[in-house]
């Protein structure tokens, strides 16, 4: 697949995801309103709302994801290596300079988001920036910029918001229904609670299908490909290999990541979380094992 075919396929998949999302929401509302005996007005509303949500996920994906992740802008003075290394690679690839953000967290991770290279953002945790040296940061940034260049960011961001939203909604509904159930036993909230619970369980049952959908959209090959293009940008496979090694040895999960955003990150941010979120994460696993990626990079060391 050439670079241009890759970009075309990513743009096409983005539209497929949006269409599937709208069909899913409108279909679910249709079934509900037929089942509960409401009129079809609800379906119209669902169509409008899901359309607006799709537009938001396309247009504001970066701001939504950045605020979910609690990222703040990074400047040149404070994060000199991060900033200048990005500047260099963007110049070398003739890409516009992306906006840079950091997440205050000692866990090591990074991701990129946005709808196209002109509206891209690269995010790294402060833990990653402080523990990696310049060549290693260069490798990580190059990996993220190749996601930007390939329009992976558009597809991944839309998937995060639309598909992830359905997944998170089920968590949220189940939590609400159980919390309410344990606290007040009076009959007022009873009906609402049952509706939440049924919807939550239905969505939870759908979760594996949704997970499958994410995996279909975001094949694991993507990470290998981004690693390889990153080496093409820096001509230094060792930098990225060492960075990946350091990231894989870091045992700390990233607090702000959830199963909707996990696939965005350079390495699985939910490792070593033994609660429900961590258990779900295994199902949503979209990252190939880091060892395989390092081995692939080591193969390149001889070739470049």
């Amino acid at each position: 697949m050439t670079h241009y075919e890759l970009i075309a396929s990513n743009k096409q998949k983005s539209w497929v995801i949006i269409t599937l999302f709208m069909i899913f929401i409108v279909g679910a509302v249709y079934l509900m309103s037929v089942g509960l005996g409401y009129g079809l007005d609800l379906v119209g509303i669902a169509l409008i709302v899901s359309g607006m949500m799709s537009f938001a996920s396309y247009w504001w994906s970066d701001s939504i994801i950045l605020s979910i992740s609690g990222a703040r802008p990074a400047n040149r003075e404070e994060f000199f290596d991060f900033y200048t290394v990005t500047e260099n690679i963007a110049n070398g690839q003739r890409l516009p300079m992306p906006k840079l953000y950091v997440i205050e967290d000692t866990a090591m991770n990074a991701f990129a988001t946005g709808r196209d290279p002109q509206h891209a953002a690269v995010v790294a945790t402060t833990g990653l920036l402080s523990r990696l040296d310049r060549a290693e940061i260069e490798g990580v940034v190059a990996h993220e910029l190749s996601h930007v260049q390939n329009y992976d960011i558009r597809l991944m961001s839309i998937v995060t918001i639309l598909v992830g939203m359905i997944a998170l909604l089920s968590d949220w509904m189940l939590r609400i229904s159980f919390r309410r159930g344990s606290r007040n036993n009076d009959r007022e909230g009873g009906q609402l609670q049952v509706i939440f619970m049924i919807a939550g369980i239905a969505l939870a049952l759908l979760s594996p299908i949704i997970a499958q959908l994410i995996q279909l959209a975001i094949s694991r090959k993507r990470e290998f490909l981004a690693d390889a293009s990153a080496v093409g940008m820096t001509k230094n496979p060792e930098g990225l290999a060492r960075a990946l090694e350091a990231i894989s040895q870091d045992k700390e999960p990233l607090e702000v990541a959830n199963k909707a955003t996990a696939h965005l990150y350079i390495a699985n941010p939910l490792k070593n979380r033994h609660d429900a979120v961590g258990w779900f994460a295994g199902m949503f696993q979209t990252h190939p094992p880091v060892e395989e990626r390092i081995a692939a990079l080591k193969n390149l060391t001889g070739a470049v």
Binding site: F80, D81, V85, N236
Partner: protein
């Protein structure tokens, strides 16, 4: 009548293709010029950074003669590259500066006073960055020139290039004969780079 439209469509398609190739070549040409200018900018930046670093470490590193020799050496190499703009001179300037930074770092590590000096660390990271920027800009010029020259000799873009009189780009000036045309024994050894 339909034959006429058929012909018209083909002509329009050809016109669009010619326009695309022409614009592509022009774009590459401006990008090559911009990258060469970027090299010039970074060399000038380096030329002004080195004396600053020199004066910042002067008081502390009196006995470290080697470091000062390297600083002077690097400054001369940068000035020479800036003047001649030749690929070999630029390469030499890049490698001189890249060797300089670790050397100073070693000297700084031994000197707690210097280690605490923010100006020195700042100048050093700026210097590393300009060396990186030079490497990237240099690589850009090479990639773009190769891309452009390839279009000039491959069919069918060569026909269009010939029509508008595009000339091959030299990219960075290199001496016609010299060490860069041959590979020495040393260069064939396995390279281990650690930054």
């Amino acid at each position: 009548m339909s034959g006429f439209y058929f012909l018209l469509t083909i002509l329009a398609a050809i016109a669009v293709y010619v326009m695309g190739v022409y614009n592509g070549l022009q774009r590459l040409k401006t990008q090559i010029v911009a990258s060469i200018q970027e090299i010039g900018n970074q060399l000038k930046r380096q030329a002004s950074l080195i004396p600053n670093l020199e004066s910042a470490v002067k008081g502390y590193l009196k006995h470290e003669k080697g470091v000062f020799e390297m600083l002077t050496d690097a400054r001369k190499a940068v000035a020479k590259a800036d003047k001649s703009g030749s690929a070999t001179d630029i390469d030499e300037a890049i490698s001189k500066v890249q060797n300089l930074v670790p050397q100073i770092r070693v000297a700084v590590e031994d000197n707690p006073e210097l280690k605490a000096n923010e100006t020195v660390t700042k100048f050093m990271s700026e210097l590393t960055d300009t060396a990186d920027k030079l490497t990237y800009a240099r690589r850009s010029v090479i990639d773009l020139t190769q891309n452009y020259n390839e279009k000039l000799v491959t069919f069918p873009s060569n026909v269009i290039a010939g029509m508008f009189g595009f000339k091959p780009e030299k990219g960075l000036e290199t001496a016609q004969a010299g060490s860069h045309l041959s590979v020495s024994e040393d260069e064939m050894k396995d390279v281990k780079v650690n930054l």
